[in-house]
Symmetry: C2
Subunit: 392 residues, 2 copies
């Protein structure tokens, strides 16, 4: 509570709500209940009624302030709401049916607001619950950003485009220029709003370099691309030599392969939970860039290690059955987003790609089983750990 | 001849043809005949049989070298042929049916190879003959650029893209980055090749700032945008107060309005012809970016001055008749380009836009005539000068 009062004190010009929360959790705003509900095993419980409250909150609360969020390479804004809630905003950059140019590298692709939204839904449907809740919203770039921001570096990049739209580009490493404006029509802009995690001072996080990180070079190969036995080394290296970390990483690779996200160079965990905890699946803006082809290298951790968490495999099998096909449950889930009214969050080709990629994952598992029957069965049995969630 | 020998001497490693030209013009290569044919009144005579020879030459000659051409803001290459001919290359950057994003300013638009080609055809059909001949060509970026270039700054930007294409991006002010690659499929790339003008040491040129230059700012207006009587000042300012310079400028505005080129900040003339000479219509790569709307401000010189060269008006009227409609003659003309086999150089919406814009020009002339009947007739009669070309 003190922290909240301090924050209110630091922004005397901004009309935050008067805090009248008690120790009774019922009086807490949805963002705080979300923070309090984070466990060692998952970021949220998908059956928690607060989840609907949280997305409704992000989608409807009055926006009090908007400033650029530093860190990362592309434009994103930190939005604040009256009762101290905050969200990370990513703007629409690409039409739903557009595909990323096949001549661009994964590290040159731009971020998509609908990828952030769809990644949250997909991660939840896979039973992971490791992506912070994200919701779509149609904002007014004039009244909800330009007129209220105190960020001068941001506000001086606003302009009216030749087509008469209000646009801005901000300051960042990539695509923050007059040649790559973010534009309202003329003021309305689709954005994604992701719930912020607890402040780093309250809940510090640890960043881990992915062992299957790409080289981020147009010429160099990473070690895992050159060495088919690369997983043998990883398996012996802490923290992958113990507990569920390796199958956690493979869960993440499965999520990334399904949505064709090649940009997973690091992942984070909450420091206070030590090494025995779930991996945060943050920053999914470069997913869902292409539907017409798959990127088999994203599955390399699964293929090289031949391990998969049992609950994940069961869930994937379930989602491959006609009765609950992944594309169908995703379509059904995404339709609940406020932006679905304008256009489906994922176009049909992207939804179909999910089914095709799911089949490819199951095929990879089968290949592992044929190659090393016994070892695989051991692994399949052995790494279920505490995460054994039955599909519901 | 001495000059040619000197150039051969300067490139001992490049296999230029042995020069065996005599003073007989028949032995000259097409590029030299083009240079020798430049007059005070036009860049070429459209009935000169050498014109077909020149475009065939540009489209088929073996490429000996390729280096970046400095100056200007976007990537372009200087290509050399065995008998000392040279051409300016602009690569394909945009699909034929793509439209420039309406939120981009004219000065952020990228250059299009097909705009360079179409501008040459349009300028010729308007009877101006002031654009250097341009032809399309399918080149092999590996064997005809990468493997033969001596330009290290260029060659180190080559790479193989994720889609397996050979790409490069060069060094320049705008769009020369890994995020904006120029790519073959996997080696084949459509380009425009424009005949080079005589070397500046032989035929120096003068650059003139256009009185109707845009502000090249996203906030500032130019003087002509604020002052409806702006032309009164221009008419009294040398060289626009004498001879045909003002109607020459209006010819250029008509060409630019037809192809929606907003990027005409300067124009050039050959110094040796003094002020009584034609204006070069160079650098048309930013034309034909949008077909769905017109840019009325490009016609401002015509609207503010209410002057037009008689031969231009006659030609425009002829091109508005059903028998010889501009879109039809353009379609017919462009089909002769070597790249027309792959896809029409201008899509049908761009061709239709030409007819719509032509009607708008004739409407503007009529408005002038209604407003200032006598003055206009004087101007229409008085500025025909030496350029009186009857439509053929």
């Amino acid at each position: 509570m003190l922290l909240l009062l301090l924050r209110a004190f630091k922004h005397p010009d901004v009309s935050y709500d008067k805090v009248d929360w008690t120790s009774d959790v019922e009086t807490h705003p949805p963002w705080l209940r979300f923070h309090l509900g984070i466990s060692r095993w998952e970021l949220y419980n998908r059956k928690d009624p607060n989840m609907a409250g949280l997305t409704h909150y992000l989608a409807t609360q009055r926006i009090l302030s908007a400033v650029q969020k530093t860190g990362g390479t592309q434009l994103k804004l930190l939005m604040s709401f009256p009762n101290y809630g905050q969200a990370l905003l990513k703007p629409m950059k690409q039409a739903r049916d557009a595909e990323t140019d096949g001549n661009l590298f994964y590290f040159s692709d731009f971020e998509r607001h609908n990828a952030e939204i769809a990644a949250f839904h997909l991660d939840r449907l896979l039973g992971f619950n490791r992506v912070p809740p994200v919701v779509g919203r149609l904002i007014n770039v004039t009244s909800e950003v330009r007129e209220i921001t105190t960020d001068h570096k941001l506000s001086r990049t606003f302009f009216t485009s030749p087509a008469g739209n209000v646009c801005f580009y901000g300051q960042c490493e990539y695509y923050c220029s007059l040649e790559h404006p973010v534009c309202g029509q003329p003021h309305a802009l689709e954005v994604s709003l992701a719930a912020m995690l607890p402040d780093l001072t309250l809940a510090p996080r640890r960043s881990w370099r992915s062992p299957w990180r790409r080289s981020y070079s147009r010429t160099k190969l990473a070690q895992w691309e050159k060495d088919p036995a690369y997983c043998d080394t990883v398996k012996q290296t802490p923290p992958y030599n113990h507990g569920t970390r390796l199958v956690d990483l493979i869960d993440m690779a499965i999520l990334d392969f399904l949505m064709s996200n090649m940009d997973r160079h690091h992942y984070e965990t909450f420091e206070k939970f030590g090494n025995e905890t779930f991996l945060l699946h943050l920053d999914n803006g470069r997913a869902f860039g292409r539907h017409s082809r798959d990127e088999p290298t994203i599955l390399t951790p699964l293929k090289q290690c031949c391990r998969i968490r049992r609950s994940t495999l069961l869930r994937l099998r379930l989602l491959s059955l006609p009765a609950g096909r992944l594309s169908d449950v995703m379509r059904e889930s995404l339709v609940q987003d406020p932006l679905a009214g304008a256009a489906p969050l994922l176009s049909e080709p992207h939804l179909s790609a999910l089914d095709r990629r799911l089949a490819a994952i199951l095929q990879a598992v089968q290949t592992c089983q044929h190659q090393h029957r016994e070892i695989i069965y051991n692994d399949l049995e052995g790494y279920d750990g505490d995460f054994n969630q039955q599909p519901d």
